[in-house]
Point group: C2
Chain length 196, copies 2
């Protein structure tokens, strides 16, 4: 009698194995063979769940996006708007080891998509999510009457989003000159600069 | 009699061939074999000029850095400080095809260095150059008495630098939502926000 396997659960297990391999070796060396080995499966079995490596990576990126969404949705904004928004936006910086790894994979994947436009769609959801969070933050400042008058919400959200990604990359690549506390300070100052 | 070959000139030719291959195929597929073929050399001859692929890539990154420095140094700042600084800082955004390619390679190389710390040094010169240019811009605004009082030059330079890199990446990855004119507008607004 064949074993009854929960297909979705198994996909999740494979993706977690992939994330461990990517973390350890980088995206370039996270081959189907290495990931199958890590998951304790044959290459053939792995192909049963993900027919291509891109499918598998797309699934991993979705896991990251869902994790970020869960973190953001489970946040209590609380009374104090400015500190709350800062906490929210810090979710998009590599403030701990998990987020550092997620962002490294996101950066590797995005860079790969420069040469492989068919991969671009996968990063787009994350990009759209960060843009929404940035716009949400600007709108919250406006609603709370903290924002400067005549602020252009869209332009400020785009600026904030670019600043966050720039800080994330500097933190990932040059933690010596851009440690977490420094980028937190810069984010804090930028938010205050939008206020009266 | 052996051919007399200008070693430095030949290195430059090989690097130019490498840049063409990287542009066409991406960093991942820019193998020594492919680059040798593009340069019309044997793999053995190429190894005479660059003993490893990393050495060759480092040389290419240096070419990009020199090009950027030359562009920046040859600029006439002129009378009007704000437009001049904007022109200066636009050198760090992918405003034309050459710069787009340079930044794509810079991004690929930086991402690769996440997994290969020995490559990190190569990106550091570019990073330091952009940081200096950002600091130069903030100082110029202060000297011209355009800047807000009590501006913290270092913090503002770090913010400007992160914003520039964030905009560059958004432009490279999502030119549909962040076209060149839009990031130019955002840069312009940010510079103005530093002024009285």
């Amino acid at each position: 009698m064949p074993k009854i396997v929960d297909h979705d659960k198994q996909k999740q297990i494979v993706a977690e194995a992939a994330i461990r391999v990517i973390r350890r070796t980088g995206l370039d060396r996270a081959t189907v063979r290495n990931i199958a080995k890590e998951a304790g499966l044959s290459v053939g079995s792995l192909r049963h769940y993900f027919s291509t490596q891109d499918e598998l990576f797309a699934f991993c990126m979705n896991i990251f996006r869902e994790r970020t969404e869960t973190r953001v949705e489970s946040m209590e904004l609380g009374e104090e708007v400015l500190p709350a928004l800062k906490r929210l936006l810090l979710q998009f910086l590599p403030v701990d080891e998990d987020r550092k790894m997620e962002m490294e994979v996101w950066l590797s994947f995005s860079t790969k998509s420069l040469m492989r436009p068919e991969l671009k769609r996968i990063g787009e959801d994350m990009y759209a999510g960060m843009r929404s969070a940035s716009l949400f933050a600007v709108h919250k400042l406006m609603e709370a009457k903290l924002a400067k008058k005549d602020l252009d919400a869209d332009l400020e959200a785009e600026t904030l989003h670019a600043l966050l990604d720039g800080l994330a990359i500097h933190q990932l690549l040059y933690p010596g000159t851009m440690p977490a506390e420094r980028s937190e300070l810069l984010l804090d100052r930028h938010l205050r600069s939008l206020c009266e």
